[in-house]
């Protein structure tokens, strides 16, 4: 993280917005700080990875995860509130990839703070147009026969990719499986 974050134009814009909210009596500084603290103290891709590992181990959990992502997150003690959480499953023939073209919506509590490339105009515009080229730049080469589905997230609906389980991992326990899952795997810009 850069040391000059506070001087970035976006930081000034956020601060100005906060001031307007506070001046309008819609929020207090303390409330805003508390929300941010809650969001970022526990937000981590380790949470999403745990959900994936559980789904790989437990077919019944996998079904619940695909049917109701919010409930499946809550089951493991993770918050995913204020939005619908949809989990999209990669298969031998389908690869899923997440983007938010309008802004940068993302299930922060399960994936941690979003990477800067996720918020970049380049990723947001190219992911929907040429996902295969974008994936190649992430080092992901998929067979031509693999169908790519790009999910354009928004404030109400956020996504998490359930990656394909690696072969030869039958003996691994849940912790070991979770360690195989990366943040990019949960976004769909890595195989897992």
């Amino acid at each position: 993280m850069s040391d000059g974050h506070a001087e970035l134009p976006v930081a000034a814009r956020v601060r100005r917005l906060e001031e307007r909210l506070i001046a309008a009596g819609l929020a207090t500084d303390a409330e805003l700080d508390e929300i941010l603290e809650q969001v970022f103290s526990s937000a981590s891709p380790v949470n999403g990875a745990r959900m994936v590992a559980r789904a790989w181990k437990d077919p019944a959990y996998r079904e619940r995860l695909l049917a109701d992502g919010n409930a499946a997150a809550a089951e493991l003690g993770f918050g995913a509130r204020g939005h619908l959480l949809k989990v999209v499953e990669n298969t031998a023939t389908v690869h899923n990839m997440i983007v938010c073209t309008l802004c940068s919506c993302y299930p922060t509590s399960l994936l941690g703070p979003s990477p800067s490339w996720y918020k970049s105009f380049a990723y947001r515009s190219r992911a929907v147009r040429e996902p295969r080229a974008v994936l190649a730049e992430f080092g992901v080469e998929l067979p031509d026969s693999t169908e790519i589905q790009v999910w354009d997230a928004n404030s109400e609906t956020r996504y998490l990719v359930l990656p394909l389980r690696a072969e030869g991992t039958d003996e691994l326990d849940e912790d070991e499986l979770a360690a195989l899952v990366t943040r990019n795997g949960l976004i769909g810009t890595a195989i897992r």
Binding site: L84, N154, E156
Partner: protein, 88 residues
């Protein structure tokens, strides 16, 4: 009641609203298929102006070939009912 069911062929309106909207420019005028009725949520175009009116929201799959003229992937976008019409 929902106007469209899963499997319905729909077209995103080609309009260019004056104010805020969640209808992405790249989908306007394009044909897709409803894959799921998501929920009933306030239309952002109105709620930004203080009018809270909920309506059905659909997950709609748009083939890349239609959106961009090439590509074999598909893009799935949440579309508020007001953004859609029946595909011709």
């Amino acid at each position: 009641m929902t106007r469209f069911a899963a499997g319905a062929r729909v077209r995103a309106l080609a309009t260019d609203p004056d104010g805020h909207t969640r209808l992405p420019g790249y989908a306007r005028g394009h044909i897709g298929e409803v894959i799921e009725v998501r929920a009933t949520w306030p239309l952002p175009d109105e709620s930004v102006r203080g009018i809270v009116r909920a309506e059905p929201v659909y997950a709609v799959r748009f083939p890349a070939a239609g959106l961009w003229g090439s590509g074999s992937h598909s893009v799935i976008i949440d579309m508020w009912e007001s953004y859609l019409e029946e595909a011709p």
